[in-house]
Amino acid sequence: MKRKNAIKKKTTRFLTTRNIGLAFLLLLIAAIINPVIGKDTEIAAGTPFWVWSFLGRLHPLVVHFPIGLLVVAWLMELLVWKRKSNDFGPAIRVLMVIGTISSVIAVVFGLLLINTEEYGGDILPVHQWTGIATMVLAAITTYTYFRKSRRMQKLLLTLTVAGVTVAGHYGASLTHGEDYLTSVLPSAQPDVAANQPTFVLANQTGPLNETQVQELNLQIRSIFAHSCTNCHGEAKQKGDLRLDSKEAILKGGEDGPVLVAGDPEKSELIRRIKLPRNHKEAMPSKGKGLTPQEIATIEYWVKQGAPWPTGELKSIFRVAALEPRMPEIPAATGDIVSPVDLFVNDYFKKHKVEWNKKVDDRTYIRRVYLDVIGLVPAADTIDAFINDTRPDKREILVSNLLSRNSDYAQHWLTFWNDALRNDYSGTGYITGGRYDITEWLYSSLRDNKPYNIFVKELISPTEKSKGFIAGIKWRGTINASQRTEMQAAQNVSQVFLGLNLKCASCHNSFVSDWKLEDAYAFANVFADSALEINRCDKPTGKMAPTRMLYKELGEIDSNAVTQDKLKQLAEYLVQPKDGRLYRTLVNRVWAQLMGRGIVEPVDVMDNEPWSQDLLDWLASDFVATGHDVKKLIYKILTSKTYQLPSVGIKEAELIVAPDYVFTGMLRRRLTAEQFTDAVSKAIQPVYGDSAIVYKLLPEDVKTDIRFPRASLVKNDPYLTALGRPNRETVSTSRLSQANLLQALELTNGDRFNNAVKRAAVKWKQEYPDAEKMVTEIYRSTLGRPPASDEESVALKVLGQTPTEAAVQDFLWAMTLHPEFQLIY
């Protein structure tokens, strides 16, 4: 007993005097160092003093003391949990004291570590504070072991251990990565192959049937493609081994075959993938190892004799059907009658979405004006529409807008200029390496040229439409993957087929089944003489054949002159059986009108649509009704679906998230051109007549143009800031988000602020009465009179007799108003 007390006394003294003092001293040092080092990194000085870095790096070592000791203390306590007397008392006390001291040291070193190295992220503060909290808890617990009741001791010790666990978990997440643990769970396997194999390993007995062979093989190829072929594929052949085809796999590498069919034990490949990750022969040698499931699958496959299906292999990527499909239209129910709505209704039922009420007239007319002709409606027009009592006034409105051919052309010109990368100025023109197609494009849109003819004229062009496939040629020698024939192949496939050939024009694609040879073969259609295949800009000595991307569509005569090859290609591409061409188009138009495509991104048509039926029906109907884009627009704009309230999205990335559920049109920002035209119409023309590129437009265009629209002027810093792309490359969607450069341009840029300044002069003259002016400006910009508190804010600034400056500022604020800037 005496002895026990002596130990107790000794430890107590040790704890209370020297050690606590020491701990606080250390903490104090840390607190002082903290800002000093922080400042260093912030201002100028170079690397921190090496001693701090060194001690900081000891943190991961030191933390294991408190983790181990405190947990052991707790385990000991568990053993005597129910007992009154604590036989382990002195031992626990020693453990606690050392554990606490080491936790203080760990915290100090940890603080040093984050100050000397660039740690960051969301986990760090959690780890830091749970760590510190645990240290404090440990100290208190230790104290209770010398003073307080056992219940308190047990409770606090348990809390401390919980703290250690939490802090330790976050610390490990920082060191090893957040997914260190979860990544090995079966649910977290990376989703590389969009085309998920359905073959299930379990429950499989007896020989495999053909479908099972196909599925198993698909799994194997998916694993190889994700984890192996970067080094053992087309680009690199480490150890002379390729794992991207049956022949290559069976052939093996420089040391002979890598697998013995039917005998996993003797297969080198199996041995290597099963080695511990730190073994120098372990495969894959870089990155993560294969998962146990993947290894089991490969083993099973080898055991089964490494079967390879005969005939066509199923793709490991999702590949959309080429041929058109006309799904059956669901039966009409209630007031849901149009095919678009019926397909959406089906979709809503499946996803438990309720139909919302249609938007009001004011919202609807603003939407369709902006979507059909790119302009905001005048206030009187809005009022008249609201007062119109005809039941089909919305349909009539859309028809009327669609028949305003010039306005329609001037709006849609922007979209097609982006997509066909046609611009009035840009690279290439200076050395005669580029042709514009403005005149042709403008007339085609004004005439609502059927889409099949539109495509044909771009691919098998006249002098006026040759600019699209001619590409952009810079002076000098250019990368083989950017020769104009290859540009044509890439642009035609992207714009018309929603297909990315850019990877394959340099090497076999890693993200689709398109091969280098496919890209060259397609490029050859545009070439006067056969092209030599270059891999990653290095000649291979192999000449490419000539063929379409989809051989089902037809065969190109490789001996024909280019002109004839292009004619053939154009004919083949626009055939009704090329469902992809029309799906791509209807999806683009849908995305323009609804803020998001049925398939996203709109250039990746192999992705899964949110409604296959809707997409297929729209495409088939489009062909059946004469390839008429306006009819397509009409069908969408008059649907109940389009008339649903707009949907706001918190984070832009949610739009393309895999679990996206369609519930209505997404709110959009006006494009650079829509915004500029809205300002031009509502308050004052932004551009003068002289800015219009008359020379590039049809001769009779003068009568078409009611005011200088932004789609008809050359790009400038103002339009660039607002998001007009430089049309060097195909661009099929615009950013819908504001940024600083944009805001600066609008806040003090000349182009915009001068227009507002001119407007102020005009408005002040026209409306000497401030109240009347506020009402009219509200009507002109937002299409509605001001609410009373809006009016009083405005009048407070304007005063009874507004100055020009005050009017200018008011106009400025109104045009930057979110209600003015959004399509909602």
Binding site: N726, A738, D809
Partner: protein
């Protein structure tokens, strides 16, 4: 640590913006999900700010930082005999000579590194803007996606150093000159999105105009206007539209713009606040004043600044004739300001964390167009025998040996790297260095990992082609 938090904070916010593009299906994408690798800015960076001093138009190395045997002009002189049209003088570095007229720069060479072995790309028949595109983006045009300018990459990865100073500032290049479309093609953030694009200040003496309220608007009115804007929004029914990213981003951007235009830092753009004697040292024209503006902005926390002598076909360093006489003027334009910038930043301590790079798209030679082993179509009428002073100079475009100067931000002091031949062709014969190495060295100093990339249209697009660029460790004090 504070700095890191801010930076990360900012990157998080700004990446939301670029993700919008992803959402819209635009050719912008998130980080490549490399096998479980988190994004980690490397430890031990040596620079926070980069100043690129761009001597546009092709500056002859033999007339500037790598002079060869001097041959004075005389009628009937054989062109092939002429390597340099200036005498040379000894610099602050032992045994290193510069061409006459660069005495000021020569005197600060103990503070930086001289590279004499830059090898430009061979892209056939030469177009300046194409080589400039390559220098600034590391990619040869045309490309299937719009390649970002090095300044845009840095803006994207690190964000602004001071929140109210745009991260990427471009001083001195007007976009209205010949080849302007080609110039615009690389003065862009490309697929990274407008947000990271250049803040253009064509005329540094007008720099303030870009960051203050519109002409004729005093501070009080500017304040009032902003207040009105906020009041009108708060009173409107727009709240019914709920919160979404477009509206939020618009409001946030407007606030940022207001902050910048109203901030004390905006004064950095005002060159008239500079003492006259300092102003005069820099005032050799727009380039010199650009250097002064760069200095002021660096002191206030700029991230990336480019200052150029401006490219305009056949002007400036683009000497197709009268090469010698033109060089006399060009040297006057650049010598004082560059040296002064180095000295000033050194004195104020900023040079430690600021990397200055002096470069040009390629070099020039009197006889060789392109490179010795791959001559390209000639563009200059250069007679073999000189009978007129206007033919005396380096008029052909030479891509096989160029000089680059680098100072500060972790770059070695008083160091010379590489060598060109002493006889024509004066091409690189030791330690050739290419653009991807230059870029990676800059990125490394800033802590941007060499494999930084984004997935665009499903393909990774790296800071340097295929992410293969190697850091030129020899140039750095500490790797």
């Amino acid at each position: 640590m504070k700095a890191n938090w801010n930076r990360r904070d900012f990157i998080k916010k700004s990446s939301a913006a670029t993700l919008a593009a992803l959402a819209a299906g635009a050719p912008v994408a998130g980080l490549l999900s490399g096998c479980g690798k988190g994004k980690k800015i490397a430890a031990n960076t040596s620079a926070d700010t980069v100043i690129l001093l761009w001597l546009a138009g092709g500056m002859a190395h033999t007339e500037t930082f790598d002079p060869k045997r001097y041959t004075p002009y005389e009628n009937g002189l054989e062109g092939n005999r002429v390597l340099s049209t200036f005498k040379s003088f000894p610099t602050a570095l032992d045994g290193i000579q510069f061409s006459d007229g660069l005495q000021s720069i020569g005197s600060v060479m103990d503070k930086g590194t001289l590279i004499r072995s830059y090898v430009a790309a061979d892209m056939g028949h030469i177009l300046h803007s194409r080589h400039q595109y390559h220098w600034h983006t590391c990619y040869e045009p045309p490309q299937t996606v719009a390649a970002p300018h090095i300044g845009a990459w840095i803006a994207k990865e690190l964000g602004p150093k001071n929140q109210v100073i745009p991260a990427f500032i471009d001083i001195g290049q007007r976009m209205t000159v010949g080849e302007s479309e080609e110039l615009k093609a690389f003065h862009t953030a490309g697929f990274l999105g407008n947000e990271f694009g250049p803040f253009l200040i064509p005329d540094p003496s007008q720099g303030l105009e870009s960051v203050r309220p519109p002409v004729g608007m005093d501070a009080r009115r500017f304040e009032r206007r902003n207040q009105l804007y906020n009041d009108l929004i708060s009173k409107s029914a727009i709240g019914d539209l709920g919160s979404d990213y477009q509206k939020e981003s618009l409001k946030r951007s407007m606030e940022q713009a207001y902050m910048l235009l109203n901030s004390p830092e905006a004064k950095a753009f005002d060159l008239s606040l500079e003492p006259k004697e300092v102003y005069d040292v820099y005032n050799t024209g727009r380039f010199g004043l650009g250097c002064l503006l760069a200095r002021r902005l660096t002191e206030q926390g700029a991230r990336f600044i480019s200052v150029t002598t401006e490219y305009e076909p056949f002007k400036g360093f683009d000497t197709h004739e009268n090469g010698h006489t033109r060089m006399v003027d060009m040297k006057k334009m650049v010598d004082g300001p560059i040296a002064q910038l180095v000295k000033d930043l050194d004195k104020s301590g900023h040079l430690d964390r600021t990397m200055i790079i002096v470069a040009s798209e390629f070099s020039r030679d009197m006889m060789v167009e392109g490179r010795p082993d791959a001559k390209v179509k000639e563009q200059v009428n250069q007679p073999d025998i000189l009978n007129d002073m206007k033919f005396y100079g380096m008029h052909r475009h030479f891509t096989d040996g160029c000089s680059i100067l680098m100072f500060g931000g972790g770059i070695k002091k008083g160091f010379v790297y590489g060598k060109t031949a002493d006889e024509r062709p004066c091409k690189t014969i030791e330690n050739p260095i290419k653009i991807d190495q230059i870029h990676q060295t800059i990125y490394h100093a800033l802590g941007i990992p060499p494999d930084t990339n984004y997935v665009v249209e499903k393909r990774p697009f790296y800071t340097t082609p295929d992410g293969d660029g190697k850091i030129a460790k020899e140039l750095l004090i500490k790797v």
